[in-house]
């Protein structure tokens, strides 16, 4: 078991290096970079010369875009990354790890609440839909789930903002704190309530978008189990229907469900880029989108490696969870 985990972690390092090479090469090969974007107005009105730009690029390590240049700057990055130094973000002027750590938790709280609601809503819905397959409940829930899955997040967000913020005026439009209110430093309760009030709409959007997929997934897996022979055996034993559904069927459905849910670790910490951006919630997704648009290479690298590590860990956890939920699996 520990040997298995050790092996997987060694493999993970190889995967992460591969991922970092690809992301680094891609970001370096982008046609414009951070310096170009920042200096373009100054060059246009003549306050900076192209020589100044080149000098700046050298300082930032962006001047040499040849193959060997990329290899060289990548290896500098890699050595730094191994010693725990992800470099300074161009955009924020602070260490990348500090920036990630600062914004990650807002995203985590947002995603975690949404995740709990999503699971709590969609799994019982999926079970019920599977038990009444092709019944009224099944059709209603499935159609709603399809609508939820098909809606683009920015559209749904804009729609909800229009209704609840602009027309009804019940909820705040954007951000995480009310700009017009001034709280005393020790008014923790009020600050908390204010934040919660701001988070209602983003969480609603995330839940509405996520429920459909998970509900369909639960339904499909549940149906497969409900049609299996041992469910018929359970019925022939004369067990009550809720025992058949929850003890026999649902416990077997847990295997794929737990695997899928533990794979959602990167989603919990990685932030919801579009939803956060639309609502201007200062989470990691919002920050990452801004940094990517600006060509902030150290941040792009740091953020994507962060996601890659989470993905690898999430997959390892889901493999280990397999062992917990499925007595047949013994990892060697």
């Amino acid at each position: 078991m520990w040997k298995y985990i050790g092996k997987r972690l060694l493999l993970a390092i190889v995967i992460l290096i591969g991922v970092s090479i690809m992301i680094y090469a891609l970001s370096m090969l982008m046609p414009t970079d951070y310096i170009d974007r920042q200096t373009a107005p100054a060059v246009a009105n003549g306050t900076m010369t192209l020589d100044d730009v080149t000098r700046l690029k050298e300082i930032y390590g962006l001047a040499d875009k040849s193959f060997f240049g990329i290899v060289k700057s990548y290896s500098t990055w890699l050595v730094g990354a191994f010693t725990g130094d992800l470099g300074y973000s161009f955009l924020f002027g602070r260490p990348v790890s500090t920036v990630i750590n600062e914004y990650m938790w807002t995203s985590f709280i947002l995603a975690f609440i949404a995740f709990i609601l999503e699971t709590g809503i969609s799994i019982p819905m999926g079970i019920r839909a599977a038990v009444n397959q092709y019944g009224g409940y099944d059709y209603t829930v499935s159609v709603l789930a399809m609508i939820g899955t098909a809606l683009p997040s920015f559209f749904l967000a804009a729609l909800l903002m229009n209704v609840f913020c602009i027309q009804l005026g019940w909820l705040p439009l954007q951000g995480l704190t009310s700009a017009t209110k001034i709280f005393a430093a020790d008014a923790h309760m009020e600050i908390f309530l204010d934040k919660a009030w701001h988070l209602i709409l983003p969480i609603t959007v995330l839940v509405l978008l996520g429920v459909g997929g998970l509900m369909r997934y639960t339904r499909t897996n549940m149906l497969e189990v409900m049609n299996s022979d041992y469910i018929r055996t359970a019925r022939a034993k004369g067990l009550p229907e809720h025992t058949v559904v929850y003890k026999h069927a649902f416990r077997n459905t847990l295997i794929p469900l737990v695997t899928m849910l533990s794979g959602s670790l990167p989603g919990l910490f990685g932030g919801a880029m579009i939803t956060e951006t639309v609502f201007a919630v200062p989470g990691i997704g919002y920050i990452a989108l801004r940094a990517t648009m600006q060509g902030d290479i150290p941040f792009i690298m740091g953020y994507n490696m962060f996601l890659a590590i989470l993905t690898v860990i999430g997959m390892l956890i889901s493999d280990l969870m397999y062992m917990v939920v499925d007595p047949r699996v013994k990892l060697k």
């Binding site: 299996s228 022979d229 041992y230 055996t233 022939a236 034993k237 004369g238 077997n252 007595p327 047949r328």
Partner: protein, 330 residues
């Protein structure tokens, strides 16, 4: 017939049982046609005996078994179990009666929940139906396991750790633990290899001797059925074509289909001159069965009347009934 139900020696009386499955359903859920999986089957089983039900695959044997226990809903007809009409009683009461009528399924690989240890598989329903008191529970399960040839230390193992034969023993133990009166065995040995088949059949017969179970033994294997049954019913395309006790069926098969089936049984003696009746063609679709006698399309003794009139199941010897125009229908 009514008097027979009143008599208590018949544990199970099936009358004109029908099970149709809708096919070609329109968007509004109305069926345009039906597969007549079971189309008017009648028989009775005497308490403590075994009835074999044979027929080729797709003839509705399994559906008969499942419909009797109402694992599928009955389309029409009645099933009297201990004098009670199973096809009418409410679901909740039916559930309470389930321990008395158990089923052993064909595939021991898929009919056991993969996430439950063996002790729990066998014992779950024992607890649910309060067959024994809490104190005796463990000892009781251990005893049932021993009776079925399973070592009690298998209690905490999972089904995937067992071979096919052992799994079928688990399935049998599961059914037996509920102290049933009737056990419907749906091809319990056809997924096993021959040497294991014999062990399982002998186990089932031993258990019958000890506990007085009644079996409805569904199989396509005539030699197995001959070994275990007292009476035998032969089915073709959802209908019973011949029914009688074992000797009547094997020594004096009257229906051409039964004759053909018996002639196909392999003999262990290579020098034995086989006189096989080879049936032509495939079994017709049960959605659109042939008119008259359903067997007339493949019968080697087919007459004009066969395609027009449905033959009635009539008794020619005591207990020996045949549905065929070769014999007088009056």
């Amino acid at each position: 017939m009514e008097t027979k139900t009143a008599e208590n020696d018949n544990i199970l009386v099936v009358k004109d049982l029908k099970k149709y499955y809708p096919i070609n359903t329109s968007i509004f859920g109305r069926a345009r046609a039906h597969v007549k999986a079971v189309d008017g089957v009648s028989f009775e089983i005497e308490r403590g005996t075994t009835m074999g039900l044979v027929g080729e695959s797709g003839c509705g044997k399994t559906t008969v078994g499942r419909t009797i226990l109402r694992l599928h809903d009955v389309t029409d007809g009645t099933v009297y179990f201990n004098g009670e009409d199973l096809s009418k009683i409410p679901k909740n009461r039916l559930r309470r009666m389930r321990p008395k009528m158990q089923m052993i399924f064909q595939d021991p690989y898929s009919s056991l929940s993969p996430r439950m240890p063996v002790g729990e598989i066998i014992g779950e329903a024992v607890r649910e139906h309060k067959i024994v008191s809490k104190e005796q529970y463990r000892a009781y399960i251990m005893k049932v396991m021993r009776d079925c040839g399973l070592q009690p230390q298998y209690f905490y193992r999972y089904p995937h750790e067992f071979s096919g034969g052992q799994r079928q023993r688990i399935c049998i133990a599961r059914a037996v633990a509920l102290n049933p009166e009737l056990i419907i065995c749906d091809e319990p040995v056809s997924a096993l290899d021959v040497s294991i088949q014999a062990q399982i059949i002998n186990l089932m017969m031993d258990l019958q001797c000890e506990f007085g179970f009644t079996y409805l033994f569904i199989s396509h294997d005539l030699s197995v059925v001959e070994h275990i049954s007292k009476t035998i019913g032969v089915m073709y395309l959802g209908s019973m074509v011949e029914i009688g006790n074992k000797d009547q069926i094997f020594d004096n098969p009257m229906h051409p289909y039964t004759q053909a089936l018996l002639s196909a049984v392999p003999m262990p003696d290579p020098s034995y001159k086989m006189n096989r009746i080879i049936l032509q063609g495939d079994i017709p679709s049960p959605a659109n069965p042939p008119s008259g006698c359903k067997f007339h399309t493949r019968c080697n003794q087919c007459m004009d009347v066969c395609s027009k009139v449905v033959p009635k199941l009539k008794e020619y010897e005591p207990g020996h009934k045949v549905a065929c125009h070769l014999y007088s229908q009056d």
